[in-house]
């Protein structure tokens, strides 16, 4: 095995599920490359992988509860054989069995919500099919944080941090105009607060700046539209979600909030 591997991988190989992920990622990549070449070359035909069967010669062992496989090097004998068969699925089958990521609001994508500090954690979550903040919250509510940690191989504290980071409110200024076509005057500016914790039918959050309420224009799933007074613009607003969770975010475009009481997750 390569010297670029840590000792555990050199000696015991790789968890079997990670090996399967690596295999399917490579097949997907090969398929995507073929489709791209056909499109770029304006070819009438594309050449697609129909079926794949891999007879993997490997050394197999359990390390604690995980099944590890180490592919046999050329000439290594007495390895086991694992037969893997994969076939292609149609576009409609993919759509039936996957979440429409493109329809999700990009503001609630994991990449946007978690930022660069959580790049590795985001990749681990995406490998188990979690691509959005909404999916992360739904999975946490239905399966529990411990299941996510185990499946995604995330340390406990990192998942908690990721959940808090993902749910923190963010502000964006609404740049719409009056019907006359003129820009909205400063004293009529609106700020939209985004957070997956905001739900239609739930209690409206109490938003205050220095103890003064900020007028709410409308509320929907994942967002609330505010019309702050000119004197409130740019200042820190306290958002009380009414269930013990309190966050703070500046009323200016692009501001990212933080939890005041550590209860965001």
């Amino acid at each position: 095995m390569s010297a670029m591997l840590p000792p555990l991988m050199r000696d015991n190989g790789m968890q079997f599920d990670l090996f399967i992920q690596a295999l399917t990622e490579q097949l997907d990549k090969a398929q995507a490359t073929m489709a791209l070449k056909a499109r770029v070359g304006k070819l009438p035909l594309t050449f697609a992988v129909k079926d794949v069967q891999l007879d993997l010669r490997a050394f197999v062992q359990f390390v604690e509860d995980d099944l590890f496989v180490r592919p046999a090097a050329p000439g290594e004998s007495e390895a086991s054989t694992i037969k893997l068969s994969l076939t292609t699925i149609t576009k409609s089958m993919i759509e039936e069995n996957s979440v429409g990521i493109s329809t999700e609001d990009p503001k609630f994508s994991l990449r946007e919500a978690l930022g660069d500090d959580f790049d590795e954690d985001r990749r681990r979550l995406e490998r188990i099919g979690v691509h959005t903040v909404k999916q992360l919250n739904e999975l946490r509510e239905s399966a529990g944080a411990d299941v996510i940690e185990r499946l995604a191989r995330l340390p406990v504290n990192r998942l908690q941090q990721a959940l808090m980071r993902a749910a923190a409110p963010r502000a964006s200024q609404v740049h719409n105009t009056h019907p006359s076509g003129t820009a909205r005057p400063h004293d009529d500016a609106q700020i939209r607060i985004h957070s997956p914790l905001l739900r239609v039918g739930g209690r409206l959050p109490l938003v205050q700046v220095a103890g003064e309420a900020v007028p709410v224009v409308e509320a929907g799933d994942g967002q609330v539209l505010l019309r702050p007074l000119a004197s409130q613009m740019g200042l820190d607003a306290k958002i009380d979600f009414g269930d013990g969770r309190v966050a703070q975010v500046a009323l200016c475009d692009g501001a990212r909030g933080r939890w005041l009481n550590g209860a965001g997750a």
């Binding site: 670029m4 990670l18 490579q26 090969a30 697609a48 891999l54 046999a72 000439g75």
Partner: protein, 84 residues
């Protein structure tokens, strides 16, 4: 030299199509069984599967029954069918 499995597959596909074109043929379906050297490595925060096929007689151990084998079937699809 082991490379991404997807790169190996793409090269095999390109080689097939080029060979067929040189012979004035259009391939509709191809099946191949290849001895394959496989290695998993950690890269870019994830796991990548590297692979290669034997290239010369010096690679004879790969041809043995002890080597991993990849059976792959390719089929030509028109673009409309490919996106269905």
């Amino acid at each position: 030299m082991r490379r991404d499995l997807s790169t190996v597959l793409d090269e095999l596909r390109s080689g097939l199509l080029q060979s067929a074109a040189n012979a004035g043929l259009r391939l509709t379906e191809v099946e191949m069984v290849l001895p394959m050297d496989l290695l998993v490595v950690l890269r870019d925060g994830g796991v990548t599967l590297l692979a290669d096929v034997p290239r010369s007689r010096a690679d004879d151990p790969w041809r043995s029954v002890e080597a991993s084998r990849l059976s792959i079937r390719w089929r030509a699809l028109d673009n409309e069918e490919a996106t269905r």
